[in-house]
């Protein structure tokens, strides 16, 4: 805006000078001053373009897809990020082996028509290059890996030192009292554009003043973010009222150094130009080769916690088995992982005979079965449920959930000696993830968290 004002002043000065010159062809000092002033202001206002013309910025090279593979050391930001985005998202940022690219899983129309064909590399480029889109929209159903992909991109930006600050929020469906721990589910759709602005303001040390309008708040936030390199993350936009308004706010905030990543289940209907927003759809796994590759990666990552996965690796699945897996999981990576853990625990035949459900229904049914099965597995099973409830509760408050804390939890109920057995039950069913084998960094998937919340309300 300031540049435009400067340009207008320059043009105005020129126009006045031209008018004066036309009326009085003999230039005098006043007119010369006007012309000189106009020229100076115009040149000054266009200095960036002139600078780029004389010394064009180097084009951003194609980023390797391994960018973002290294876990982040969040250090001082950890508490802030976990309180903002929850323990699950935080654990993704700190996880060792986070993401495996699966050819064909990401779809991006803009990448297809660019020299950088790979959607992941195109997404990285767009977040880094000055000419890239400033808002990245990751769209997919639950369990597809949106948050995982968002985490990888953020890690990549940190690795390259293109950002030094994470702002934003995860649109929760629950209100959690951070002191009492009480989770209030009576206000779905609580989240709005105003609360988003409040959140960003608080993160920047600004107080949200209800007497000021949105434009004033945005202006102050912009002033606070001058010269900072930040990523604004809006997680789960579909659970927000006034999502269009939030996109407008983001549009106003993003620039060369400030980018935004949105994750949502709804990819369409946003009134933003393609040059400002890049959409990437995360598709389900439909090809055998995709599932086989993903399966190998899953086994390699979780074999330590679920040793029977090793047996699965020893016996390659048949095409029929892979087809069944794709068909019943709907190609949802999370559900594939849950099913693989189930298969490793029982067998292919047992799993295939067990259910004729599909997709999200199958996931919910598996969660239901596992939850009730745990209550039949004597004290280790009950402790396992207690652990899930605890991790779920703490996930909303945001903190690393360490092994020591789980030891304390188990000892409080005089079951410290069966903690490992309880954890083994959870790992075998892919109900808990541990991202730090040394000290522990336990979390659960958001879909399981939703399930547990529902169970606790109905029990």
């Amino acid at each position: 805006m300031l540049k435009k004002i400067e340009l207008l002043i320059g043009i105005l000065a020129f126009v006045i000078a031209l008018v004066l010159f036309y009326r009085q062809p003999d230039l005098n000092n006043t007119q010369l001053v006007f012309v000189a002033l106009g020229a100076l202001v115009t040149i000054y206002s266009q200095r960036d373009r002139i600078r780029d013309f004389i010394t064009p910025p180097e084009p951003t090279p194609i980023i390797e897809t391994t960018c973002g593979d290294r876990p982040l050391n969040l250090a001082d930001q950890r508490l802030h990020i976990s309180l903002t985005f929850g323990a699950y998202f935080t654990s993704l940022l700190e996880k060792e082996a986070l993401y495996t690219p699966i050819p064909g899983q990401l779809v991006c129309a803009q990448a297809a028509s660019s020299p950088i064909k790979d959607p992941l590399q195109y997404a990285m480029w767009t977040l880094i290059d000055a000419k890239g889109a400033r808002i990245l929209l990751l769209a997919a159903e639950g369990g597809m890996g949106k948050s995982t992909l968002a985490s990888k991109l953020i890690r990549c930006l940190y690795e390259r030192e293109d950002i030094d600050m994470i702002l934003g929020d995860s649109a929760k469906q629950y209100l959690v009292n951070p002191v009492t721990g009480h989770v209030d589910t009576t206000q779905p759709g609580y989240y709005s554009a105003q609360s988003f602005l409040e959140r960003i303001s608080a993160q920047l040390g600004l107080v949200y003043d209800a007497t000021r309008n949105d434009a004033q708040h945005i202006s102050t936030i912009q002033d606070r973010l001058i010269d900072r390199r930040a990523i604004i993350v809006v997680d789960n936009l579909e659970s927000v009222r006034q999502s269009d308004r939030i996109i407008q706010i983001l549009n106003a905030l993003v620039n060369r150094r400030i980018r935004a990543i949105i994750t949502t289940r709804i990819a369409t209907g946003f009134d933003v130009s393609q040059s400002q927003m890049l959409t990437i759809q995360v598709k389900s796994l439909t090809e055998h080769v995709q599932v086989r590759n993903f399966m190998q990666w899953h086994i390699q990552q979780y074999m330590h916690d679920h040793p029977r996965l090793h047996d699965l690796a020893a016996h390659l699945p048949t095409n029929e088995q892979i087809s069944w897996l794709i068909h019943h999981s709907g190609g949802i990576p999370l559900l594939v992982q849950v099913l693989l853990s189930e298969i490793a625990r029982t067998s292919w035949m047992s799993a295939m005979n067990r259910t004729n459900l599909f997709g999200q229904e199958l996931l919910d049914a598996l969660y239901f079965d596992h939850w009730h099965e745990l209550s039949t597995l004597s004290t280790p099973g009950m402790l396992a449920r207690t652990i899930l409830e605890y991790v779920n509760r703490e996930a909303h408050h945001g903190d690393r959930i360490t092994y020591r804390q789980l030891v304390q939890l188990a000892e409080d109920v005089q079951q410290g000696d069966i903690l490992d057995a309880a954890l083994a039950l959870l790992h075998e069913r892919f109900l808990i993830i541990n991202n730090d084998k040394t000290h522990g960094n336990f979390s659960i998937y958001p879909s399981l968290s939703d399930f547990i919340q529902t169970q606790l309300l109905t029990e």
């Binding site: 300031l2 540049k3 001082d76 930001q77 950890r78 508490l79 802030h80 030094d164 600050m165 951070p178 002191v179 009492t180 721990g181 608080a202 993160q203 920047l204 040390g205 600004l206 107080v207 003043d209 102050t220 912009q222 002033d223 606070r224 001058i226 010269d227 900072r228 509760r393 703490e394 408050h397 945001g398 903190d399 959930i401 804390q405």
Partner: protein, 353 residues
């Protein structure tokens, strides 16, 4: 319900020593304080409330915990309980502690009121030593509000009444250093601070107070263009504070800001901005240290001006003005302080405040 005092004490001890600071334990664990307070208030247990406050004392004595809501409520409840019991000694302490925290927030008028109350109650006890100390804090507040005359008068009264039992002789020396700095007498300020450090080190080396004095000494030495020596002192100060992770974020931010100011004098604008970013990140999320944020934004405005980025400079000045208008007692001082800072940076040995 029986309150588990041992568990609460253990929790408080954990919070003070946690590597991530007070926020490093789960909210569920913090809930123990909340539950205990509710129980004590419901049973009108004034003794219990004061015991709870005593357990939280080391937390509230440090920078970072003041903004945690449950601790503020414990503090409020403790003051109310002490009033009910007409416990002058306790009220003197509680108001004094509150004054310290308000002073750190930049709410100097409110801090003055708290310290005045504290002195009043300490004089009733009587506890002359504690009253003297809070009178000294009032002098700090008066100086912060620009009333140097009253501040000097008060510190003279304090110094005249100090005796061998006062193990905080470093603090009046610190204020004398500030007065000397205000008058542009930098060598005298340096000498006062060096003496204060020697006095403090005899009993309390490597504490946050020690780190604060080092940072102030570094500032004075930097103003005398002895940059290498000043940088070493800033580093020493930060090294001490790193031993208390999450406990003194405001102090760290202040030290970083002071060092940034010195770098601006040396025309190292990029490094200065980097330090200001670090300082900003330390305190912005607490949402309370607006005076420090005001100073950071003012300095950024000056840096951008010196870099020829007039638009950025104006916008940073605008943010500083926002903080001053909405949160500080210095509602109209922003242009004055901006010019003063700018002058100080351009002519560092000139008279400054």
């Amino acid at each position: 319900m029986t309150i588990n005092w041992d568990a609460l004490q253990q929790l408080a001890d954990t919070l003070i020593n946690h590597p991530q600071g007070p926020g490093g334990v789960t909210a569920l664990e913090w809930q123990q304080f909340d539950t205990a307070l509710l129980e004590l208030q419901q049973t009108n247990d004034t003794v219990g409330i004061l015991t709870l406050r005593r357990i939280c004392r080391p937390l509230l004595a440090r920078d970072s915990a003041w903004g945690i809501e449950v601790l503020r409520r414990i503090d409020d409840a403790a003051i109310a309980a002490a009033h009910k019991r007409d416990d002058s000694g306790e009220l003197g302490h509680l108001y004094g502690a509150r004054g310290h925290n308000l002073h750190r927030e930049g709410k100097h008028t409110q801090a003055l009121n708290a310290f005045t109350q504290s002195v009043h109650y300490y004089e009733r006890v009587p506890n002359a030593r504690a009253a003297r100390k809070n009178t000294y804090m009032m002098a700090l507040c008066y100086r912060a509000l620009g009333d140097t005359h009253t501040a000097k008068r008060m510190i003279d009264t304090v110094l005249a009444s100090m005796d061998a039992t006062d193990d905080w002789q470093d603090e009046p020396l610190f204020l004398q250093a500030k007065f000397a700095q205000d008058d542009g007498k930098l060598p005298q300020a340096e000498q006062c601070l060096r003496t204060a450090i020697v006095v403090l080190s005899q009993r309390h080396a490597n504490t946050a107070r020690h780190a604060d004095l080092l940072a102030n000494l570094a500032e004075i030495i930097g103003l005398q263009a002895r940059y290498t020596e000043a940088t070493a002192l800033f580093t020493q100060s930060m090294d001490i504070l790193k031993h208390f992770p999450g406990q003194y974020d405001r102090l760290m931010a202040r030290t970083l800001s002071k060092q940034a100011t010195m770098l601006v004098t040396q025309r190292q604008y990029s490094r200065a901005l980097k330090l200001l970013d670090m300082a900003d990140d330390r305190i912005s999320r607490y949402g309370r240290y607006y005076e420090q944020l005001w100073r950071i934004e003012l300095l950024r405005s000056i840096i951008y001006l010196r870099q020829g980025q007039f638009g950025f400079s104006w916008r940073k000045y605008r943010v500083a003005r926002y903080y001053a208008r909405h949160h500080l007692e210095r509602k109209t001082d922003t242009p004055y302080y901006w010019l003063l800072r700018f002058w100080r940076i351009v002519a560092p040995r000139a008279i400054h405040i």
